[in-house]
Subunit: 456 residues, 2 copies
């Protein structure tokens, strides 16, 4: 055990960040703007405000202000479950017999089970402040829907969740958590929206996708008085709110007098990774420090490592603005054997630009190796990780084992975004030796890329 480095470091309330950090302010190449799908011109604040709350539109478009104050009401809510601990993984280090020093920022210690609550409370707060009645959203694995229903219950806001039908049926407990928090949960695609009926007519018996559920949630938000749509990942505003993860991590490291060498996060839409790395990336962009930053994605849904950097649709119904991002094409649907989350076809525009500028790396990992890492971690560190988070665990263990070979004492930080309590069907498959891997073929991807919109 290193002297002066405890197992867990908690900031005092007085040390908690009071402003979010907007990494776009320090980016030389700004992320590409959202485009109007009809005109292919950048979306204006006016256009966006039909979908999002006004203050969130401002945050979405703000590429200039490096710090945005966190309102007091959100700071108070954060105090209920934050600061999250920065954990030194002494037991894992010992089990791996590595000279590497491994840390993780654990975001699973709240009922939503993940980091999603950091942005849910912010988005719900601005909706409430604007005098809205409620918000709509989609959820896949269910972490975002749970987080949003918690935030809405706290603020007394109505919450309508469209849950991908296959998850709705396979994860009844997730649904019940949301209902316990007072949300209405509709399996998507549904007969309750025009786009849902259209999708059902075209694909009878479909079990849905995140892209379908987004289209339905946006339709309801834009057609119901006093409602707006909110999204749990991908957007600039979400990365902004999630910067709390990185800011707390950085503050805790500074307190300990430690500087990480490698920062690792799992990447689906990019919310956790973007949040975790933001203040470190800021230092890198400003030339103040250097870090190796690694995004880890599933081999079955490899947007960074095998996708195209192009404008694409964000949803199946094509009602949303176009985003420039690393994408597999909006028609891409990960193989049914894919067990966890991280199944969105695209990636945050901000992270896509940083990746394209070679300021970070990416790698893909197969799910059986991810669950092996998850099980190993659970048995050693005593936390049952979410499948999503376990992608980062896999890469962190791999990097620590490289240190063992080379003898380097690198300091590794990874984001442990959440817990796997609602993913036991996947763990059961793994425990029973029935989990398989899947990697899309080049032909499949080419077919999907053919659906990319032609821009400019």
């Amino acid at each position: 055990m290193d002297k002066n480095i405890p197992y867990k470091t908690y900031l005092e309330e007085s040390e908690m960040p009071k402003a979010w950090y907007n990494v776009r302010a320090d980016m030389k190449n700004k992320p590409a703007p959202l485009l109007n799908p009809a005109t292919h011109k950048p979306m204006t604040a006016d256009e966006l405000s039909a979908v999002f709350c006004d203050e969130l539109v401002a945050q979405e478009l703000d590429n200039e202000n490096a710090y945005i104050d966190i309102p007091q009401e959100i700071l108070d809510f954060y105090k209920m479950y934050r600061p999250s601990p920065l954990v030194r993984a002494y037991c894992l280090e010992k089990a791996l017999d590595t000279p590497a020093k491994i840390y993780y920022k654990f975001e699973g210690n709240n009922t939503s089970g993940s980091h999603k609550l950091n942005s849910a409370i912010a988005q719900a707060y601005y909706a409430k402040k604007q005098g809205l009645k409620g918000v709509t959203t989609e959820t896949g694995a269910g972490q975002w829907g749970t987080a949003l229903s918690m935030a809405c219950a706290y603020l007394g806001l109505d919450c309508k969740v469209f849950m991908v039908k296959v998850s709705y049926e396979q994860k009844p407990f997730r649904r019940e958590v949301m209902r316990t928090y007072g949300a209405s949960v509709t399996p998507s695609p549904s007969e309750t929206t025009e786009v849902g009926r259209k999708i059902l007519a075209e694909h009878p018996g479909t079990t849905g996708s995140l892209g379908c559920a987004i289209s339905e949630a946006v339709e309801v938000a834009t057609h119901t008085e006093g409602y707006r749509y909110v999204l749990g990942s991908v957007l600039n505003q979400v990365l902004l709110h999630q910067s709390i993860i990185g800011l707390e991590s950085k503050a805790a490291f500074d307190k300990l007098g430690v500087k990480p060498d490698i920062i690792i996060g799992c990447a689906g839409g990019g919310s956790n990774l973007g949040g975790l790395i933001s203040p470190f990336m800021g230092e890198k962009l400003r030339g103040e420090a250097d870090y190796r930053i690694i995004a880890v994605e599933p081999a079955s849904c490899p947007s960074f490592t095998r996708g195209r950097y192009a404008y694409d649709f964000c949803d199946t119904g094509k009602v949303c603005p176009l985003a420039k991002m690393y994408t597999l094409g909006s028609g891409f649907i990960p193989s049914a054997n894919h067990a966890g989350g991280l199944r969105y076809h695209g990636m945050s525009s901000t992270l896509s630009q940083l990746y394209d500028d070679k300021l970070m790396e990416a790698r893909s990992v197969e799910q059986t190796s991810v669950f092996a890492a998850a099980q190993q971690f659970a048995r050693i560190e005593g936390i049952l990780p979410a499948p999503e988070s376990s992608h980062a665990i896999r890469a962190a263990i791999d990097e620590a084992m490289k240190c063992k070979e080379t003898g380097e004492e690198k300091t590794i930080l990874f984001g442990l975004t959440g817990t796997g309590y609602f993913d036991m069907v996947a763990y059961q498959k793994f425990n029973d030796g029935e989990m398989t891997d899947y990697i899309p073929t080049d032909e499949e991807l080419e077919k999907s890329f053919a659906g990319l919109p032609k821009i400019g």
Copy 2:
């Protein structure tokens, strides 16, 4: 918000307790000894050591030493998930509009989802130290089995869990968590033990009970070379280990300069309540301070409030020592509509004696009112509580509302023992308005009391 009282108080690692507190040392009337079921004479250390590890036998019988050092290995494990936070429930206070100051000690922030891990690691450690191969146990709702399998995985010890059949079938995810931690899980009653086969022959199609599962686990432990039996509640040794909850709470209160007036805990076998209250009860026993201490139990399984204080069997197969305790009779089985844990027919001997000496109160609450409190708490404080813990929430809210009537600014501490992630079937019943209450009739209890053994 009170100045200087944060939402959450964490002790520093250096402030964490280094010894458990043994409340029996300060009790004038010691808890009655365990009796040999054949001879009705007090169990000797030798007799007990066929069932339990030697060091745990010593702890079980130790009524003299007030403090017992926590071994370094256990302190290290505790550091992975402890200290647990002492939370000031500002949001709940505001929602209730009460002058009461409400605190809770939250033990759910670890993968086992409850306080059970505090004793699981201790019991597994002593088994390992004795050079054993493994341990056996029973589990009902699954929190104890999960905690034990985590502790055994960490120490490299085999873990055989007998899980009450109805839970095994209704809670497949609990089972999978234990399997992920490498435990073997057998539905009880099973064909793998003599007592199991006997119970199955007498009650074909039975869905099991905690009492059956205990009998099977004890049989396997006592008939397998290198194995001992461990138990998650009721025993003196378990209350000793769980004193870490109360010691941390007390240390945190002392740090804040606060003294609670009322201390509330849910009571099944008594492990959490006994642990939470122990240092406060110690002060009370020594005449140094006074506290109102309230045990809360389900109206459907009311051992304190409607049971007899008598020697009884601890298990269905009657293979275990007899314990003097408040009991409903070992043949008592709570109504099938009972949703949560807290379904053991008896109660810790230590707590039984303290209750009989009028050093604490008890009350029973009905489950629909418990789930109403659970839902209210979840929406306000952002934690989805376990049904067991919610009994304490119910009583804490009731006490806070009394303060609102009287205007008294009482300080209330309650134990929030765990999370309800694996209890969503019960929440669903409540959400759908299908949950009902059940109170056993006097006739039912009398019938059950008739089965009490005749002693002396």
